[in-house]
Symmetry: C2
Subunit: 193 residues, 2 copies
DNA sequence: GCCATACTATGGTGATCACCATAGATACGT
DNA sequence: ACGTATCTATGGTGATCACCATAGTATGGC
C-alpha cells in the first residue's frame, strides 16, 4: 500500500502549476508528464479516471494551500479587520510578483472553463470559493462585524482578490492590489459602519 | 468592396459568444463555423490570419460594446458616484441572469489564457481593461473625486466586477453583485473621504 | 524462492486541432 | 457579355488530443 515513487505527487504539482499558468483545456497530459519527469507509462495506473481525476486532486491541493494561507493571516491579525485585509492583499500581491505574474488562481481558471468540467470538478471549485469566503467571514465576525456584514464583506473581498489577479497578470504590476487595499481598508473594513 | 454576405459578422458574433462561455483554447474553429452557420470553405478568405485574427476582431467588438454600456450608465448618473456604482453592478448582474450565468467576460477569459495568446491579442485585452477603467475614473472625477482617488476607485471597481463574474457563474446567483454593491456603495464611492 | 503488488515501456486507437491548396460558384460594374 | 472581386466546396495536411491494451520490470512480504 505504501508509495514507492513520487511520480504521482510530481504529476499533481506540475498540473497545479500548468493549470494556473495556461488553464485546464490548454494544458495537455503530455506536457504535464514531460515537465514533471513522471513516466508516461504509468499515468493511468496512478490516475485511472484520467485528466479529470488529476484535476480533482490538483484543485484539492490548491484549495488546501490557499485555506492554510488565509488561516495563517487570520491568526496573525486577530481582531484587526484592517490589518487582516491589508495583509491578504499584500500576500497575494507578493505571490504574483514572485512568480513574475505568470500564475493565476486555479479555482478562477477552472471556473472560467466550466463548460469543459464535469459535475464533480465544478463542485470542488465552488467548494473552494465557499471555504475561502467562510474563513474570511469568520475573521470579520471575530472583529465584531455583524453576521450579514461579515459575510458580504468577505464575499466582496474574495471577488476583488480574483479580479485583481486577472488584472495584475495583464499589467504585470501589483498596482491593482495596492489600489484595492487603499480603497478597501479605508472604506470596507472600517471598524464602524 | 461592399460585403455580400454576413458570414463574416456571424462568425465574429459566434466567436464572442463561445469564447465567453468556453474560453479561447477550448473553442474550436469548427464549432464556431457550425454554430454560426458560416461556411467552412471561406473562413480563411475572411480571416487570412486564422483564429488569431478572429479573436482580435471578437475582442474589439466586445470591448466596444462594453465601453458603450459604461458610457451610457455614466451619462445616466452624472455627478452621482453612488448611483453610478450601483447601476454598474445591477446592469452586470442582470446580464448574467439573462444568460443564465453562462457568459463570462471575454477580456477576463483571454487574460487567463495569456500563454496561448500572441502579443497583439494580449495588447488588445490590456487596452480593453485600461479603457474600461478610464471611463469609470472619468465619471468619478466628474463627481468631485481627486485624481488619485478616482483612479484607484475605478481600478478597484473593475477588478471587483471581474471577480464577481467568476463567482456568479459558479454560484449561479447574482448574490455576489449585491454584496459588492452594498459594500461598495456604502464605503467606496461615498461622496466624502 | 515465490507471488502479489506497485510501477513502467511500447505502440498504438480514433478524434480533433488549426490550416491550406485547388477549384468552382456567384454577383457586380461597366 | 465579360472581367473582376467576393465568396464557397472539397479534400486534404501533419500535429496533437485523451486514452488504452499489452507486456514487462521492480520490490516488498512470507
Amino acid at each position: 500500500m505504501t508509495r514507492k515513487t513520487d511520480a504521482r505527487a510530481r504529476a499533481i504539482a506540475t498540473a497545479v502549476r500548468l493549470f494556473r499558468i495556461q488553464g485546464y483545456t490548454a494544458t495537455g497530459l503530455t506536457q504535464i508528464l514531460e515537465e514533471s519527469g513522471a513516466p508516461k507509462g504509468s499515468f493511468y495506473f496512478h490516475f485511472p479516471r484520467g485528466k479529470t481525476q488529476l484535476a480533482e486532486e490538483a484543485i484539492d491541493h490548491y484549495v488546501e494551500a490557499r485555506i492554510a494561507v488565509l488561516r495563517n493571516i487570520s491568526a496573525d491579525t486577530t481582531g484587526d479587520a484592517l490589518g487582516f485585509t491589508r495583509q491578504i492583499f499584500s500576500t497575494f500581491a507578493a505571490e504574483m510578483v514572485a512568480s513574475d505574474f505568470q500564475y493565476g488562481c486555479l479555482m478562477q481558471n477552472l471556473a472560467n472553463e466550466l463548460a469543459a468540467l464535469d459535475f464533480e470538478l465544478t463542485k470542488r471549485v465552488a467548494h473552494g470559493f465557499a471555504e475561502s469566503t467562510e474563513v474570511i467571514a469568520d475573521h470579520f465576525k471575530g472583529c465584531g462585524f455583524g453576521l450579514a456584514r461579515a459575510s458580504s464583506t468577505a464575499a466582496a473581498l474574495v471577488a476583488a482578490l480574483e479580479g485583481a489577479r486577472t488584472i495584475a497578470r495583464l499589467e504585470r504590476t501589483p498596482a491593482i492590489f495596492e489600489a484595492l487595499a487603499d480603497v478597501s481598508v479605508q472604506r470596507w473594513a472600517a471598524p464602524k459602519a
